[in-house]
Symmetry: C2
Subunit: 169 residues, 2 copies
Amino acid sequence: MKRPAAARRDAATSAPEAGQQVSDDTLREFIGYHIKRAFNVVQADLNQALKPLGLRMVTYSALVLIVDNPGLRQSQLAEALDVERANLVVIIDELEGRDLITRDRVPTDRRAYALNPTLAGRRLYDRALEAVRGHERRILNGMTEETKLAVIGAMSLIRQSSGGGSKGG
Amino acid sequence: MKRPAAARRDAATSAPEAGQQVSDDTLREFIGYHIKRAFNVVQADLNQALKPLGLRMVTYSALVLIVDNPGLRQSQLAEALDVERANLVVIIDELEGRDLITRDRVPTDRRAYALNPTLAGRRLYDRALEAVRGHERRILNGMTEETKLAVIGAMSLIRQSSGGGSKGG
């Protein structure tokens, strides 16, 4: 007893059958919904690519920022990653526990910690970037360079719509 | 003692000063990074917009799908939302506890539950969509319709790069 998918069904008796398409037409009006769904794929594929290296999206991002900005303060990293300081501690502990980074007190500011990569951290950075380039090729899925640049421009526009920091995680 | 931002600093002694720009040049090569950062803003602004209604991104999406697809099975909703079944239970409990939806056994399949909106659920759906339209205008931030459509096309391409379901949360 198959029925065609409808945007809004009128009664419980017209429940979608198992296997029948669920309508998300209302949600699809919104660009935010499309971004969310694409992000789910990006995150899942990236985490899969990083798994053999023992990294996840957020620990990878943290490692890259620390290698590119040696001496980075924890507070600067929290801001750059859009995470709360409390969540940052878990990330830092994980990288430090694997001897990928060091955390040292800043001589001129006893309350601040400076983060630096170890040699092992720099090596994992190189391997991680290689894995992420493979991931990136997969998710781009044949997208033209022109479209890619249009997307990056659009994402920046959205980013700028908030005053900057979002702490979205 | 300000220094220009550099993509990679050579030693801990050249640590970025407090307030100095942290370089994310390496991460910015990747479209996934731009999508993640835009998604952080989308999620934060959407949750802010929905807060007065007692909804979050995921409970809002669930309510919309249930109103648009009355009689929806829990398993279908889990798939449509890209969430694990265990996480779905929390979402359903929240909506049912507020009398926005009902969860009834399916007579023809005793193991399945059908989800239906209540009148209160349908009313909140209308208010939520109004709030989300305001949110959408904010995040679009003057984006042209042409760019918006290009972004939606690109997000679908990324979505299709995985076999479909990602269970990314």
